[in-house]
Amino acid sequence: MRWTWVTTYGSTYLDALGWTLLAALLASAGSMFWGCVLFLIRLMGGRAAALGVGGYVQVFRNTPVLLPIYVIYFGFPLVGLPWPALACGALALVLQNGAYVSEILRGSFRAIDRVQFDAAKSVGLSPWQTFRKITLPQVLVHSIPSLGNQVVALIKDTSLLSAIAVTELTMQAKLLTERTGAAYEAFMVVAALYLVLVFATEALFRTAHRAVRWR
């Protein structure tokens, strides 16, 4: 392992790291939002909507995320929407991970004791108030660890965006391997960077969970 590698190519890696972070952030924010939407639809939308969301979740749980990435990236221009690669990739990741997020929220919801809802009704809270004061906080707090796992999975999934020409970390490693032949160094550095990102994210969510639990 030639350590001068890191100094020579450090700046190219930083560039690529920026793209990875951007993709991960966009995809995370989007997935949280879309997951909440799906969860709410399932909760409040009646039987047909719940079935629809259930079907959606099943589809995305049983197909690899690379397929939506290719479909959106290569297919959108054909129907007149030539979005940039990052947008296409982020959209695919959001569609996929939104399904997982909604399942996480659903699981947390089911973990809330039914007794609380009866108590809320007997006290006279409206459905909206029940949701805001009882359901939502508990669902969110309970979900934080699993959501953290989901964000970590997203960070790793951004590596797939290298297949659609986004110049993030994995693509950068490929380019450097081509240019210099030092495959070992190129990919070791990238692996190390991902591990750092994962560690930081896990630490972040652990602190968040602890902070929120003691409120």
Partner: protein, 279 residues
């Protein structure tokens, strides 16, 4: 429980050590001898670079380079089917050869001096060059016209393309893909208006749909050489391959070479020797 694990690990270690010891000495033999013993040639190739190496409608690997390899197999084993192809992407070519996974590699690989630092090339077996394919819709007629911010060009992963893009059309946006057919898909689907690739490949893509695509007449740089690449340091293997290519292009196997060349390029190859009349 622990004792089970320890015993298992100890048992597993012995065959691993034996294997390591056995293969450690294997490097002293020439690849040529290994290939002859094995009875089969293992060739690293791309699968998305027409007409050099690509998959046809039935999913079979075909192409000019593929047929040249089969000629080599015929020379080695009297049987063109004694070849196993290992398909890789553009950046996977070099590690596959350097690690010994393949005996040699083909697939529209152009010879560059900096590449020659890491792999050995035989003499070239076909001419190439780098061209730009554009969509007719874009109306780009020359490289100067390509050099605008509103256009996007699809490149391959290799650094030479990136350097040429920076030199000849720095203002154009660049997308990087790992196979030529991915580049072509990008152009077909409207993500890019141009792609940079070997001239024969560009002409092949353009021929698929003459109404939509055209190859710009100027070459980027000069005429280039495509050759077989192999792991450096093995003189015996390189010598045989180079001799075989020499015979294909200028010697006793020129008729077979002409047949393959006609099949894929629709015309005769360059003459065997400039001082002999073309027959």
């Amino acid at each position: 429980m622990r004792r089970l694990v320890c015993r298992f690990l100890a048992a597993a270690a012995i065959p691993v050590l034996l294997l390591a010891a056995a293969t450690a000495g294997a490097e002293d033999k020439s690849r040529l001898d290994t290939v002859l013993e094995r009875g089969k040639l293992i060739v690293v190739t791309g699968s998305a670079a027409p007409p050099f190496a690509f998959t046809d409608d039935k999913g079979e690997l075909v192409g000019f380079d593929i047929d040249i390899v089969r000629l080599l197999a015929t020379a080695l084993f009297k049987d063109p089917t004694k070849v196993e192809f290992v398909v890789v992407t553009a950046e996977g070519r070099w590690p596959a050869i350097e690690s010994g996974r393949g005996d040699m590699g083909v697939g529209g690989t152009t010879v560059y001096p900096d590449r020659a630092l890491r792999v050995a090339f035989t003499r070239p077996f076909v001419d190439s060059g780098q061209s730009i394919l554009v969509t007719k819709k874009s109306g780009i007629k020359s490289i100067a016209e390509l050099n605008q911010e509103k256009w996007t060009v699809a490149n391959l992963v290799n650094p030479q393309m990136a350097d040429r893009a920076k030199r000849y059309f720095p203002k154009t946006k660049v997308l990087t893909f790992d196979t030529p057919s991915a580049q072509f898909l990008a152009v077909k689907s409207g993500r890019a208006q141009a792609l940079q690739i070997d001239t024969p490949t560009a002409e092949y893509f353009a021929a698929q749909n003459k109404n939509e695509f055209v190859v710009l007449p100027t070459l980027l740089g000069a005429s280039q050489n495509n050759a077989i690449f192999l792991k450096p340091g093995d003189f015996k293997w390189w010598l045989w391959l180079d001799t075989a290519v020499a015979e294909l292009r200028t010697g006793s196997w020129y008729p077979q070479y002409t047949e393959v060349y006609n099949k894929w390029f629709g015309k005769n190859p360059p003459p065997q020797k400039f001082y002999l009349p073309q027959r």
